[in-house]
Symmetry: C2
């Protein structure tokens, strides 16, 4: 039986940082450099973050993280793949995240989508996520996807990757 692979959405296949930066720039004209973001939590850097997260279109229009579409296509052929996304905190995101997946990852079925609050309830063999809180409570193999907020922080017992190519190098 294929191993079950759990893939996060925001910060792993959806470029939520690009959205934060875009929303902030259009609101205040601020332009962030990578150095501004490194190792700091999202809410520390983007002051109106919670407002953006509740704005219609925020999740729907997020850019796709480079390389994630061909990578998921490949992994989907080999693994029992699920996209598991924290969404219930921002209820307007539920439909937007579904529509976004339909648009960019049409090869995934509704059976492979999970929208939740806490990921502690999720069971699988491998998890790819950018947040320690999700990886730390997972019982299987854990892969930390580099995003500005975790950049430079110790990986703990997780394997860090910087790109989807690195994920493929590990898993295919």
């Amino acid at each position: 039986m294929a191993l079950r692979l759990i893939i996060d959405m925001d910060g792993v296949i959806a470029d939520i940082y690009a959205q934060y930066a875009r929303f902030e720039a259009s609101e205040s004209g601020i332009k962030r450099s990578c150095e501004d973001l490194k190792g700091k939590s999202e809410s520390e850097v983007f002051r109106n973050l919670r407002e953006y997260l509740f704005t219609r279109g925020f999740f729907r229009d997020a850019p796709v993280i480079p390389g994630s579409i061909p990578a998921l296509k490949e992994l989907n052929a080999q693994y029992d793949l699920f996209v598991v996304s924290s969404a219930t905190e921002f209820p307007q995101s539920l439909q937007e995240k579904y529509d976004w997946l339909q648009e960019h990852f049409p090869f995934l079925s509704w059976k492979q989508m999970v929208f939740c609050g806490s990921k502690a309830i999720i069971h699988g063999d491998i998890m790819i996520d950018d947040h320690f809180k999700n990886l730390d409570s997972f019982s299987g193999r854990t892969i930390l996807f580099t995003q500005p907020h975790n950049d430079g922080l110790p990986e703990k017992n997780h394997v860090r990757v910087h790109s989807w190519q690195e994920v493929l190098d590990l898993l295919v």
Copy 2:
């Protein structure tokens, strides 16, 4: 640590059969008796079922299964409780199910909600569900909530309950 209790939505806290019957009656005038429904799958009985499931308001206006509100309130104080619902097949249901839970079960937080396609990915200690497909693949203790489609069928290795009072008698 509290045991993790996984509770299904449709047919366990949301009276989806009442909705099927209501939609069918308003469409065709057919009135179902309990005998028409017993031991038959929903799609066998309600011919336009899939159309209803995709209709806006179908999930939002579902009645609450009697006794479920006080029961969940009580169980929520004692267990690590999650409501896990198959929803991604009918994407319009995502926001409706969230709103329904907010209205009828306001004591549950967004952290306790999971909207998915397959429940095979869900890990917990106890599951209450009306469908064998969900209970059969669950590794913990399983409770079959009686609904017309499972009525009279063998319980297999699950414990059958007919009401929320019976759930409380088992778990509190």
